[in-house]
């Protein structure tokens, strides 16, 4: 326990230092509080609007959870397909890269036209933003499997499917999980983009929607409070996935387990 606290110490110290600089910057009158509110004001606003923030976070969290899961699924499957079929790779890869340049605000209205005012258009936006890192890392992971291991599998009479199942896929999972971690971190801003570029119904429409409304309503402190919630949520997601990885793919971090807390593992360690 004590070791964990020690591990977290640098993060806490850095965060406190940054908040301190921010507080001083505002308190010294270097910026108008409507442009940048002080941390204590943001904290008070978060406290006073806890119910509103919680209701909106619940929606945003659902979108991020579902959206990232779909993105992982689509990204991983697409990555494997691309790996297995060079023609597919040539056909799909450029489009996948290009998809990252699509301005979501432009297609938001089309997505709403197709799928209405519910969660579907938002999920699509999150998947669009998040699937790419998963595809790239999966494809690279599949290609980076130890050639000797594949040779061995072939010598032992493994079929193509078996080579994939027992050779390439397990080797690719750590890389794919790195992609997943990127996807999850990006997924939160993806949800913000999704909420602010598609129409919605109902009183609560997520933190992103609330931030936009607050920017327009001059409620800058509350917009910052919502942003802080998103910030913390993204960090929480990232580390939750790190924990989940140990359950889903314990072989991915065997060598780096001792060197937690979590940082992106280097692929080489696993061999």
């Amino acid at each position: 326990m004590r070791r964990r606290v020690l591990h977290a110490l640098p993060a806490i110290a850095l965060a406190l230092a940054l908040v301190g600089v921010w507080e001083a910057y505002v308190d010294l009158g270097l910026v108008n509080p409507i442009v940048l509110p002080a941390p204590h004001e943001v904290a008070a606003e978060a406290w006073n609007n806890a119910g509103l923030l919680a209701a909106n976070l619940e929606l945003t969290a659902q979108e991020v959870g579902l959206g990232v899961l779909l993105a992982l699924l689509c990204g991983f499957v697409l990555g494997v397909l691309i790996h297995l079929s060079p023609p597919l790779r040539r056909a799909v890869y450029p489009l996948a890269v290009g998809s990252q340049a699509v301005p979501v605000a432009l297609i938001g209205v089309l997505l709403v036209f197709w799928w209405g005012f519910g969660v579907l258009p938002k999920l699509f936006v999150i998947v669009l933003i998040c699937f790419f890192p998963v595809v790239v890392t999966t494809v690279d992971g599949l290609a980076a499997v130890d050639p000797d291991q594949l040779k061995l599998l072939r010598t032992l009479g493994a079929s193509r499917w078996q080579a994939l199942r027992f050779g390439e896929l397990p080797a690719a999972v750590p890389a794919a999980l790195s992609g997943a971690r990127i996807a999850l971190a990006v997924g939160v801003i993806g949800a913000y983009i999704a909420e602010t570029s598609t129409a919605t119904s109902g009183p609560y429409a997520g933190l992103g929607h609330q931030i936009n409304a607050d920017i327009n309503g001059l409620q800058t402190p509350r917009a910052y409070a919502a942003a802080v919630v998103l910030f913390v949520f993204a960090i929480a997601c990232f580390y939750t996935l790190a924990l989940a990885e140990r359950v889903l793919a314990p072989w991915a971090n065997r060598s780096s387990l001792s060197s937690t807390p979590y940082g992106p593992t280097t692929r080489g360690e696993n061999r």
Binding site: V31, I34, L66, F117, W161, F166, A199, Q210, A249
Partner: protein
């Protein structure tokens, strides 16, 4: 499938429960998503009728929310559901695409959309005159439009706002080229507060101006129709022309219910503001109450004998000509095709 034991041993052994856990997670989340349904307050048999707002629910929409919560729409057989857009051009697009039954938009925006060939028509004015204003803070030493000479003015970046600024400057005898226009997007008020612009054009006198007032900033507010821009209906209710032709009964019923909603707002502005906050919990009650009260005089026609929602034909003609003269639209709305508005569905109007 039979797997040679040697393959099993040689392979990096993937615990199979890993995959089942993943699949179970996906199923669980998918199920959870299916479970979150939206609750609707509708009476059985009422016809679903979606209205896309122009913006987040606010004081301008008070009559709509009053009519919903008092059940006036249900009484005429309509189950009205408001939808919040992501940006101001979205409502007319989704209306034209048939995704919503009615859109709240702005007269200039409607004329632009019609100029693009969208077959839409305004059936009522929610707000009679422009809310858009030139707003300045005392520190910028702008008391009247003429004071803007040589200064920088922020707008939300819409072409017709630039034209409005142009007209206002010319009316005040200022050479428009001496004024620098800056597109500050959403951030009209922060741009002023941080001193980046001397004034803004695009904020509303019943909203941004009130916010600044609440912050004790004592803004100078000049509604643009008092600065030389022809009067127009800031907010209008728009439907597809075909819908107006085929389902006039629904529209007539809608406007009847809306008129009763407006009477409720007039009778009890504070209660109406509370309904706005209920629909948009992020809205602030004090500001919404002030805004509802401030807006009331602008929701009724100048001529008392005209019904609520009335659109003044001569004002529409003058504003259409103004847009044409400034090159904002390419065909004359007064002479091309059907008129952009109709009063025939208002209570007591039509055949």
């Amino acid at each position: 499938m039979r797997i040679p034991p040697a393959v099993r041993r040689a392979a990096v052994l993937a615990p199979r429960y890993g995959w089942s856990v993943l699949i179970a997670c996906i199923c669980a989340v998918a199920l959870a998503a299916c479970g979150t349904k939206q609750d609707t307050l509708s009476s059985p048999g009422a016809k679903p009728f979606t209205v896309m707002l122009d913006w987040f629910p606010n004081a301008d929409h008070a009559p709509l929310y009053a009519a919903i919560s008092h059940g006036y729409f249900n009484q005429v057989g309509l189950d009205v559901r408001p939808i919040v857009p992501s940006e101001t051009a979205e409502p007319l697009k989704l209306l034209a695409a048939g995704k919503v039954d009615m859109a709240i938009s702005y007269e200039p925006q409607l004329l632009l959309a019609r100029d693009q060939g969208l077959k839409l028509v305004s059936i009522a004015a929610l707000v009679q005159r422009p809310l858009t204003s030139i707003i300045a803070l005392p520190s910028a030493h702008v008391q009247k439009v003429a004071d803007l000479a040589g200064k920088r003015v922020g707008t939300a970046g819409l072409a017709y706002q630039a034209a409005e600024l142009h007209t206002a400057l010319q009316a005040a005898g200022v050479n428009p080229s001496s004024v620098q226009e800056a597109d500050v997007g959403f951030n009209l008020v922060p741009a002023m507060l941080s001193g980046k612009v001397a004034a803004t054009l695009g904020g509303y006198w019943n909203y941004e101006a009130l916010q600044l007032e609440e912050m004790h900033k004592h803004p100078i507010v000049i509604p643009i129709d008092q600065a030389g821009v022809p009067i127009y209906n800031e907010l209008v209710l728009v439907v597809r022309s075909e819908e107006a032709r085929l389902h006039g009964e629904d529209l007539r019923a809608f406007l009847q219910a809306l008129t009763r909603g407006e009477q409720q707002v007039r009778a009890n502005p504070a209660a109406a503001a509370a309904l706005i906050v209920k629909a948009n919990p992020a809205a602030e009650l004090k500001l919404q109450t002030a805004s509802v009260e401030k807006t009331l005089p602008a929701t009724v026609p100048t001529n008392k004998s005209d019904p609520y929602g009335w659109q003044d034909p001569s004002a529409w003609a003058a504003f259409g000509s103004w847009m044409l003269a400034h090159g904002l639209i390419h065909s004359n709305p007064n002479t091309t095709g059907l008129p952009p508005f109709t009063n025939e569905f208002l209570p007591g109007q039509g055949i």
